[in-house]
């Protein structure tokens, strides 16, 4: 597949993104990864384009990653955090987006705590919308950078066992990864406490288990998700101590996975909660490479969406 065949206007989720298209993103990201290792980390690909980062929910990592990605493509960027914008004055999300659109921007990178907001903006505006995470629904660029990292390390994912462990219920990372990984031919297993696995998960072609041993058994990739302390107050968990006892990825547990299984985490990490510190920092960990690859993948996404020829 070539760039000219790219047809998507937005990146709202990965539901209708094909394997060919994911591979195109990976190829494009690979060439951009090199840019970030140069002394002058900049190419003029998106010169004159304006990318607005519209973050209704606090985020450091994803926002910085998108901002650097846009800057390394020579786009102008502007970052808007919800707590300093007019949102607190009662303006609706769509009004905020329409106002920004009226200033002739080319793309909006949107994060919102409510699922579906990128869809609402894609429907209500004419600007290119890139989802940087909506509610518990989707975080497509995270899944793409995860897939990129996996493919980079272990090659094609056909038949590979990828295990995702933790709070699946509240995780947009898990949801987007499941879709992308299945598209790429992987076998996906999700694992977590019974209270934190959403109903009907099996229908999406994943294996669901509450047994961490079973989940780790023979895994090629082990991905831990952030476990927030609030889940205890919200009565999903009796205690963090019990969660750690049952689900923390320790070096001992990791032995059940394949010998060189990759260890991943979308961040931010709670060391000693969902993942033991020595595993996070261990030889199998690619957690920091995920962060590095994030910029290349976001450059690829911005480039493909903003250079698309429209009639």
């Amino acid at each position: 597949m070539t760039m000219a065949q790219w047809t998507h206007k937005h990146l709202l989720d990965l539901d209708d993104v094909s394997r060919d298209e994911i591979e195109l993103i990976i190829e494009t990201a690979r060439s951009f990864k090199e840019v970030s290792s140069r002394e002058v980390k900049k190419v003029p690909a998106l010169r004159g384009k304006t990318v607005v980062l519209l973050f209704f929910e606090p985020s450091t990592r994803t926002r910085v990653s998108f901002e650097l990605a846009a800057k390394r493509l020579s786009a102008d960027t502007l970052s808007i955090a919800a707590n300093v914008s007019s949102v607190t004055k009662g303006e609706t999300v769509l009004d905020t987006a329409l106002n920004i659109e009226a200033m002739n921007v080319d793309a909006m990178v949107v994060r919102h705590q409510a699922s579906g907001v990128p869809q609402i903006l894609a429907k209500g505006t004419k600007t290119v919308i890139i989802n940087a995470g909506d509610g518990c629904r989707a975080h497509p660029t995270q899944a793409l950078l995860d897939v990129f990292t996996m493919v980079d390390k272990i090659g094609p994912l056909d038949g590979k066992k990828v295990t995702i462990i933790g709070d699946i219920l509240h995780s947009r990372v898990a949801r987007s990864n499941i879709g992308a990984l299945i598209t790429m031919g992987a076998h996906v297993t999700v694992c977590g406490p019974g209270t934190l696995i959403p109903l009907g998960m099996e229908q999406y072609g994943v294996e669901v288990t509450t047994s961490i041993d079973r989940a780790l058994d023979g895994a090629d990739v082990v991905m831990a998700l952030r476990m927030q302390k609030e889940r205890q107050q919200e009565l999903y968990l009796p205690s963090m101590t019990e969660y750690i006892k049952e689900f923390c990825i320790t070096s001992e547990r990791l032995k059940k996975a394949k010998p060189h299984a990759l260890v991943m985490h979308p961040g931010p990490m709670n060391r000693g909660v969902e993942i033991a510190a020595n595993v996070a920092d261990g030889a199998q960990s690619v957690i920091l490479e995920q962060v590095t690859n994030g910029i290349a993948v976001r450059m690829a996404v911005l480039y493909l969406l903003l250079s698309r020829k429209t009639e």
């Binding site: 609706t92 409510a114 699922s115 579906g116 429907k123 509610g135 518990c136 949801r175 109903l199 998960m201």
Partner: protein, 428 residues
């Protein structure tokens, strides 16, 4: 004022003769139906020719939010009444979740007074079960009854305290008021915004499980059985609720139930586009639930169809799905949806549809003069064109709010004229 409806093909509910043979004339004097016969003439009467149309008892909606007093930006008794008569409704029951709450005789009187001033449709304010619908102290139900209430509910809130529900039923029975329950255990609903299941999992929206509804239905069936006192279940949405009610009715337990057109016309799949007009409480369910609701309507488990007409302003709904208030408007589309989803596919006969929309709701709340076209009864009548197709358009709604997921739908079956208390209150 005298009206004479000529050449009327009359369709009553099944307890009142169903579809009457031949074409009849209906003479209406002083708000009452005085003669039904052939070849009637009256020199003083305004004549309505109903040839080619169908004449049915005016629809009765046990579940409407009129928003006045308190949120007149969403709807008023005037605009809600206009929406009602456009939809063929000659009696509507106004839910008490207004500001102030309909929990005293004064507020009941206010609603009656406003409705009378508007003078389009019969508006029956439904009192709250507990003061301010807070689930604490019971309202003064004897006073509410004297002020004209026929039923009580804390709609929007479920009476969670089973002991208090028992007291409410015992007290309401004395007052001659029907207790109507909103069935959603908030501990199970949690902050769910759509049906819990594979679709909510996919969309990353918090799920509201059917069991939140069914645990309350099951509990209240037991109370109704124990106290031998009626309970009316509002807006049933789950297959399992239909099963529970069917079983209860077989045992002679005095429960009744209503469903809303959106719960048989749509499934949770409608939420996929994040259109906030598809957010309501209880939420849209699965195809299996829709099938069970239809089966329940067909076999009589579900007594009647109401709308849960819940107007919200564009501003209130033009937010993300989580933040949007639940509810959709329903008065103007109800009949068309009943025809399209129930009568056309043969789930209900036209006579059964009249049962569900007129006769049964009248019986449930004890409106003995309404819900039937018969001599001596109230002249609340709707004339419909069963063949006319029409497209639901946002700009055609007369409700103040436009929050409908049915915009763009083509419906067959159109209200031509609505007569309330012997007065033509709507003409298409």
């Amino acid at each position: 004022m005298t009206l004479l409806i000529k050449h009327a093909k009359i369709v009553n509910g099944s307890n009142a003769g169903g579809e009457l043979s031949g074409l009849k004339d209906i003479l209406i004097e002083n708000g009452k139906i005085t003669r039904i016969s052939q070849g009637l003439a009256n020199d003083d009467a305004q004549v309505i020719d109903a040839a080619g149309k169908t004449v049915m008892p005016g629809f009765i909606d046990l579940h409407v939010h009129l928003r006045e007093p308190g949120r007149e930006d969403k709807e008023t008794i005037e605009s809600g009444s206009r929406a009602a008569v456009k939809g063929g409704f000659t009696s509507i029951f106004a839910m008490p979740n207004t500001k102030p709450t309909i929990d005293t005789a004064q507020v009941v009187q206010f609603v009656f007074d406003q409705a009378k001033k508007v003078g389009l449709t019969n508006v029956y304010p439904v009192g709250a079960i507990t003061k301010n619908r807070e689930g604490g102290q019971l309202t003064e139900m004897m006073e509410l009854k004297r002020a004209g209430c026929l039923a009580v509910t804390d709609d929007g809130n479920t009476l969670m305290n089973a002991g208090l529900m028992r007291r409410a039923m015992d007290y309401a029975r004395m007052a001659g008021l029907l207790v109507m329950q909103h069935c959603q255990d908030p501990n199970l609903t949690a902050s769910g915004v759509m049906n819990e299941g594979a679709v909510s999992t996919k969309l990353g929206l918090k799920g509201d499980p059917t069991v939140a509804e069914t645990v309350i239905v099951a509990r209240d069936i037991e109370l109704a059985h124990y106290l031998k006192t009626p309970v009316h279940f509002m807006h049933m949405s789950a297959a399992r609720s239909v099963d529970l009610i069917r079983h209860a009715k077989k045992q002679g337990i005095p429960v009744t139930a209503e469903v809303m057109p959106h719960h048989f016309a749509l499934t949770e799949d409608a939420v996929r586009g994040f259109d906030t007009s598809t957010k309501m409480s209880p939420p849209l369910r699965t195809a299996a639930d829709v099938a069970a609701i239809k089966a329940g309507l067909k076999d009589g488990t579900i007594d009647c169809i109401a709308t849960d007409h819940a107007p919200h302003t564009h501003e209130d709904k033009e937010v993300d799905f989580d933040a949007a208030p639940p509810g959709l408007i329903g008065l103007e589309t109800a009949f068309g949806l009943v025809m399209k989803e129930l009568v056309a596919p043969g789930v209900l006969t036209l006579v059964q549809a009249v049962d569900k929309m007129s006769a049964a709701p009248a019986r449930i709340v004890g409106l003995s003069q309404k819900g039937v076209i018969a001599e001596g009864r109230d002249a609340d009548i709707v004339i419909v064109d069963l063949e006319k197709e029409w497209v639901v358009r946002r700009e055609d709604f007369v409700s103040k709010s436009k929050n409908s997921p049915f915009v763009g739908w083509t419906l067959k079956g159109h209200v031509v004229k609505t007569i309330c208390g012997g007065k033509v209150v709507y003409a298409a």
